[in-house]
């Protein structure tokens, strides 16, 4: 105890000492007191060690670059209601899909600007849930010869369809199917990886131009990224982590937009 600070050392002093929140005079007083109190000194040392381990353990996430979907610009932009984060069950999802579809239909002729992406995402996630569990017929047309699939989809949709190659992301093309959606069918391609994780790419026309940011949505264990590009809407959906799914979304986006520019 120094003469300059005669107050007795308390529990709060010891915490503030560990946390570096004492002024120099008080710190010196506590340091001197600790020399005479080895048990308290051991506790202080243990608290510091625990703090350092905790910081080290949690450092990596704070050092990472911020994911694009957490940028304020991507959250605060001209946006509509988000996909409900937690859908209670499949029935509610089906109801949302029905409402979303109706709103999209009514809105198409009357409301200018990009149509909401959310009903699209709901439709894509519903389709994902319906077809990924299919053991016998997950796809209508298998990807044995991928040109046949491309030709078939393009013929049915009346526009060239790009089938992205996602082998670099660990996903192989299984095949595809058409789905009813508004006034033009939607195309759904299915991929899987070595562990049996299935992923779908849902795309359909009907959105006015512009280029949207990736939008992330999650419903229970199913994650989806959606975006709009050149009048087409895309949704990738899988039961996987967001980082992996984002890499897939970026790869798809690069391939479909690259293909289109190349074709010009």
């Amino acid at each position: 105890m120094t003469a300059s600070d005669p107050r007795p050392v308390g529990e709060d002093d010891l915490h503030a000492f560990v946390d570096g929140r004492l002024d120099p005079g008080r710190r010196a007083a506590v340091e001197a007191w600790l020399v005479a109190h080895p048990e308290a000194a051991a506790r202080v040392a243990a608290d510091r060690e625990m703090r350092d381990r905790l910081r080290a353990r949690l450092a990596s996430v704070a050092d990472e670059p911020i994911p694009a979907h957490l940028r304020i610009a991507n959250l605060a932009g001209p946006r509509r209601r988000r996909l409900p984060r937690w859908w209670p069950n499949a029935a509610a999802a089906a109801l949302l899909l029905a409402l979303g579809g109706a709103a999209g239909w009514v809105g198409r002729g009357s409301v200018p600007g990009p149509a909401p992406a959310e009903p699209m995402t709901q439709a894509a996630v519903s389709a994902f849930r319906t077809y990924v569990v299919e053991a016998a017929h997950p796809v209508e047309v298998r990807a044995d010869g991928s040109t046949d699939l491309v030709r078939w989809l393009s013929a049915r949709l009346g526009r060239p369809v790009t089938v992205p190659d996602l082998r670099a992301q660990g996903f192989r093309l299984m095949g595809g199917r058409l789905l009813p959606a508004g006034d033009e069918p939607a195309a759904m391609l299915m991929y899987d990886d070595d562990r049996g994780t299935r992923l779908t790419l849902y795309s359909r026309a009907g959105t006015t131009g512009g280029r949207g940011v990736f939008r992330y949505a999650r419903a229970d264990d199913v994650a989806a990224f959606s975006w709009i590009d050149a009048g087409m809407s895309y949704v990738v959906t899988a039961r996987t982590d967001e980082a992996r799914l984002l890499r897939v979304a970026e790869a798809v986006d690069a391939q479909v937009s690259g293909k289109r520019e190349g074709a010009r």
């Binding site: 625990m50 910081r55 304020i72």
Partner: protein, 169 residues
């Protein structure tokens, strides 16, 4: 919107760290951060001057508590658990010591948040009191209890000491 980004975005790494410490599941943690940021953007016009960091952390913690109340724990899929185990094993835990995050997870939430905000986020006791909306004395007593429990936790011998890392399913 740009000034909003300039003010808020510097806090995002710390918000993610806190969310990860609370949930220990990256996707759920980023969902929580996204939810927090959306709240913050909406509430921005009503925000009174004051500590921005404390304001954001308070929103995050309140959203977290609401989520826990509503769901009684966040559902975590098996893939997600594997992810967590792979993402970062406590090096000391790999050597047979106990994982410090297991100790944190075993604390009551009010003690856990105080310890995380003080020790990891380096907040002043007054700032933590603002985040939790409790008096500073309460912050100090929770901090004291949290540290006592953590010392006891880390002192205990680990349950299994082998040459292997924890099982990654």
């Amino acid at each position: 919107m740009d000034d909003l980004a300039v003010l808020i975005e510097p806090q995002i790494p710390a918000l993610r760290r806190y969310a990860n410490a609370l949930l220990r599941q990256r996707e759920a943690a980023d969902d929580l951060v996204q939810d927090t940021l959306e709240r913050a953007i909406r509430a921005w016009p009503q925000r009174r001057d004051g500590d921005l960091r404390a304001w954001l952390f308070a929103i995050l913690r309140n959203r977290y508590l609401e989520g826990v109340r509503r769901r009684r724990g966040i559902e975590v899929g098996p893939e997600a658990l594997a992810e967590v185990a792979e993402a970062g094993v406590d090096p000391e835990a790999a050597m047979g010591a106990r994982d410090v995050l297991d100790g944190i997870a075993a604390l009551p939430e009010e003690q856990r948040s105080v310890l995380l905000l003080v020790a990891v986020e380096d907040m002043s006791y007054a700032e933590v009191a603002t985040v939790l909306a409790v008096p500073i004395g309460t912050v100090m007593s929770r901090l004291s209890r949290a540290r006592g429990r953590m010392r006891a936790f880390l002192d205990q011998a680990p349950t299994i000491v082998t040459g292997h890392l924890r099982r990654v399913k």
